[in-house]
Symmetry: D2
Subunit: 366 residues, 4 copies
């Protein structure tokens, strides 16, 4: 990736910190004539909005998006139509409370980028993690809402499949449950809610935190997107997901499991389907073979580390090189992986939209 | 990534197929005055060269590299000095035997990109996998040999840490053993050689194949390389590793394990070191926090799927949409993960060299 | 250029139309620790602001810039310090009067991009030229104000050297006169003001328009920026200048004159200067030889076509393919070249800042 | 441009110096299924080949191109079909005579990049100008030969329209004459041959050199290529042309003339044509309005400075900072502008091919 821009034809540039007046993004290269509403974007943003349950940060941010350019309004007064020029979106920061961070401005919090930042830039905006703040991800979600509109028939959904030592039961997988009001975890398994809630309450009350694994499934991805060895679709999905804060691992299809099994077990066999396209008998590949989509569901998973802001004191040093013990107060997610679900969806949608346009550009075959 | 080029300031463009006359790469943006010899490059290439044991493909390729531009020769007649202009390197294909592939030209081999290729491009060079062939990776290794010279003090090494269901014992880790003549597996654990040999002999004789996990460790990476959320060092390492054929997963530091543990367990505590830089008490982060290197060893792992070319017949279809059973003869690696070790090293070295130059460009702090 | 982003390490992405709520830019890759004030940016913006004399459009726009990210405020409460993260700047559109454009929404104005837009995008925001509006250039000027701070000692100045058939007398060149209150033309020749005023009054009253030639001079450009044949400094300056609306030609140094003279006349001879750097005896090259800066002043000129919006009816067609005669009312600059001076300065400053960082990145020699 | 790569979807990376073993390029992003022959490329290369008349350098180079990747051969054994993967082309350097350059290895030739090179890189390959050699342009011409095949119906032709103080008579313009055996100048005006020959013989015998202006005309460019203000088609054409050695100016359509005339004179009026597309009554715009092609011929001109290698001694300095007088012997073109004609064609063709794919990618409207 080049700086804070990602994508090659569908390009997203994000900007903004946790404690500045606003954050946002510029979506460049959107095809003309794409129709969407503010509500389409807002609905996505609301999914990752803080303060919606006791399991996420209590920071109160309405995350209301403004579209400043790149669209005309249709006669209905609501539908926006992209003109093909850059779409600028802006979200104001409302609940900043920068005093919360005052006491740790000079300390290097373990697990955070504080020390690395200071070495790199020589100065940093310590408030709320500055550019590293999870708030930046709102811009990605807004961009992803537009990306979703570009590939006809594309549906990108995500689910939390494990949290710390607890996992879902895949036999219970129910996509419809994820939007349910009783589901603060983006889990597809109704039976897991109580398990996760009890587990995370314990973590939260202990001032601790825990990681999670998220799975993203993209249906309706046409075969042919990507390239054999560079500009691979899976590579750009992995890159996009790894660009999310706190992500430490990514896998496509069966991922690391593929390293443990044999060629016979791993190969997805095919038969000719009734509709003239192949019928795959399994999907270990996660919908991508040799970097190119096959028409199967594209499946990716990523690991989110536990929030580094915890109440338990940890050994560290400060800017003067003195040994200190750091304890991070403030309003933090006990499991940042929860709100990573819509972010992961957005990043996968952006990668697919970009490759859709690139494939059309190079081959004209869509 | 943009097409077949990767990197932003240290840029590598590769070209070539398995069965054309040659393959190669152009390394652009190399600093002037970098000194290296043909032997430096050849030594790296020899590590991934086929035909060196019964556990890798028996294709015979000398993989002799030519440097066609971008250097002047020093007075010793051997040392090449980069001039700052593009370095073009070329490796001829010698042992092509394209007849081996004749019978499966019209079949879509399960696990291979054949079907996806045909959908994407409408035609393909079926010989040896065309552009998807593992032979292309020789170009990466050549580029990586130069990348290694750019960051003073950088050492990038790789090891195979598991193969199928067998793993090394980390207590036995010995980097020096990896170059040993009795070690056809790039394993750092001497005790594992017999285990892997027996296991892979069984796989090989059964006409089967198996996957592997590779770990890359980069020492001497200065703190400050990367960026907070995009152009993250870990993201570009992940992207580079995912661009290698057959890779299905990547993790940094403790990777997916981070999703299973708490913030207290995961945080790498610090104390002030005697040399004026922090002493980290652990390295769960894999040397990268918030996308920026910390000065610790940078650690990445990637999962390689089993070779899809196997002797056991698998169900598939052909170009005419007829159901067929595919059996792939020819000279294939029973575990392509073995030769992926030097490739992974090269890709990590390229990412680090690129970020070293980018960091110097933006900040002037190196 | 890639879409609406230019630059490689110092990257600028602009967005916004004439008649949306706002326009702006994201400056990415700015080194950390660059100090500037809002006034530094505002002063540049004020130079290109409309409505400052009868010779430019009467649209009233305060063009007040907001800096939304990428900076911290120094203890003085005024100085902004870049943090190394993206700097987002926003300028609101105030005086939009979109009704002015109603009547020509369906006509293709000759000399404008109306027809080409419709072919390309299938729809367009006709208000004020949409994305092609000269208002977008405010974003460039804001970005240029930051670019000017990056290269120590850099001074970039511009001058209008001809307008239609009238030209300045170079013997009278006085940089200090350009900022003078009696100088609405950015001319460096005090004697030319009356000439240009009389000439342009005639043009303006006739409802006509006229073109201009602008010259940009950058002093303090260190030797060594650029590259031999691609990524040439002059090439990127030319590209940046050609990206400005209505520009139809660019030249470096003596430009097209070089094609008319001999090698003896054109060569800039050198002698060793007292300060250890070469003393060039002339500057036909415009400070750039073989794509690389020599330490002399960098000189570029560009030709701006006459405003296409004129009162004289011109033959054209409309969206329905009917022949029409088009007359463009509204508030237009009779010579858009005047306000192009600060824009040209900004684009040259951005190119130089980018190459400064790129040179430092590749070679470490700054 | 990014280093030695240009183009966004149709990307060309060139490499090689005058005195290395070879030079070449990698064409990446070519659509699959493009059909061409080696002769198609060779014919273009032969146009710029040295040694074809007394008016160009006497260096003897067959400039025979090899295609090393990215194609399959059709059943006729001659037609190459692109596969969509990178096309690598290589041209060997045969007639190198590096001793010619020995005596000036330590001198900075006026008008050459010698001094700038040394400042930038700290070392340089002085033989034949190193990377700045005109030989590199062979790679561009080879890439351009493929670019020409991508846009259906595209014809790109160039002509020398002036040489030093002599110009063609446009009333005599005859494209067919340019390929004529009696025409060593790429002039479209038969009457000019004797004028140019006498003039250049004088220049040549005096050991001098002279500049030239080249005009490139692209017919068959579909309307809609480019973008309003960045990624303008004219901007990328200007960038591509300015990347050619010795080019000091570029103009589109009437170029600098547009700055001298009024809006009424400059506007290209339209009427509805019989074929349902607009009939433009003039082409001052050079086929591009607001950065987007209109369907008219695309017209660009560029100024080439006189060869800096001349026999007349010029004042300069050497690497030790001593004043010297430099006289450049060797085999040089008295007017490098002549052989710049096919190079300019190639660069324009590459820009158009790239924008054709980009337009298709973003809009799907081709």
């Amino acid at each position: 990736m080049s700086h804070n821009t990602f994508g090659h034809l569908f390009r997203v540039t994000t900007w903004g910190e946790s404690h500045g007046p606003a954050l946002g993004c510029v979506v460049d290269g959107c095809p003309p004539g794409i129709r969407f509403t503010l509500k389409d974007i807002q609905d996505e943003l609301d999914k990752r909005k803080p303060g919606q349950s006791r399991f996420v940060t209590q920071r109160r941010e309405p995350d209301e998006v403004k579209v400043l350019s790149g669209v005309v309004t249709d006669d209905d007064g609501e539908t926006l139509i992209s003109t093909g020029t850059p779409i600028s979106m802006l979200i104001e920061n409302v609940d900043q409370r920068s005093k919360d961070y005052g006491e740790i401005a000079r300390q290097y919090r373990p697990g955070h980028a504080d020390y690395a930042y200071d070495v790199k830039y020589g100065l940093r905006d310590h408030r709320g993690g500055g550019r590293s703040s999870a708030r930046e991800t709102a811009a990605r979600v807004a961009a992803g809402a537009i990306a979703r509109k570009i590939v006809p028939g594309l549906v990108v959904r995500g689910a939390l499949v494990s949290m710390g030592t607890r996992s879902i039961d895949r036999a219970n997988w129910n996509w419809d449950f994820i939007g349910s009001a009783e589901n603060p975890f983006f889990t597809p398994d109704p039976a897991s809610v109580q398990v996760f809630a009890d587990y995370l309450d314990g973590i939260r009350k202990a001032g601790s935190s825990v990681g999670a694994v998220i799975e993203i499934v993209a249906e309706g991805v046409p075969a042919g997107l990507g390239a054999p060895i560079y500009a691979k679709l899976d590579q750009d999905i992995a890159s996009n997901l790894m660009s999310i804060n706190a992500v430490k691992g990514v896998e496509i299809g069966n991922g690391f499991e593929a390293a443990r099994i044999t060629g016979e077990e791993n190969a997805d066999e095919m038969r000719m389907g009734n509709d003239g396209t192949p019928l795959f008998l399994s999907n270990n590949a996660g919908g991508i073979l040799g970097g190119i989509s096959t028409g199967q569901d594209v499946i990716a998973r990523f690991a989110v580390k536990p929030t580094s802001s915890i109440l338990t004191p940890r050994k560290s040093i400060d800017k003067d090189g003195k040994d200190v013990d750091v304890m991070t107060k403030g309003r933090h997610d006990p499991c940042v992986g929860i709100r990573a679900v819509p972010i992961g969806e957005a990043m996968v949608a952006c990668a697919i939209a970009d490759h859709y346009l690139r494939h059309r550009g190079q081959t004209g075959r869509i």
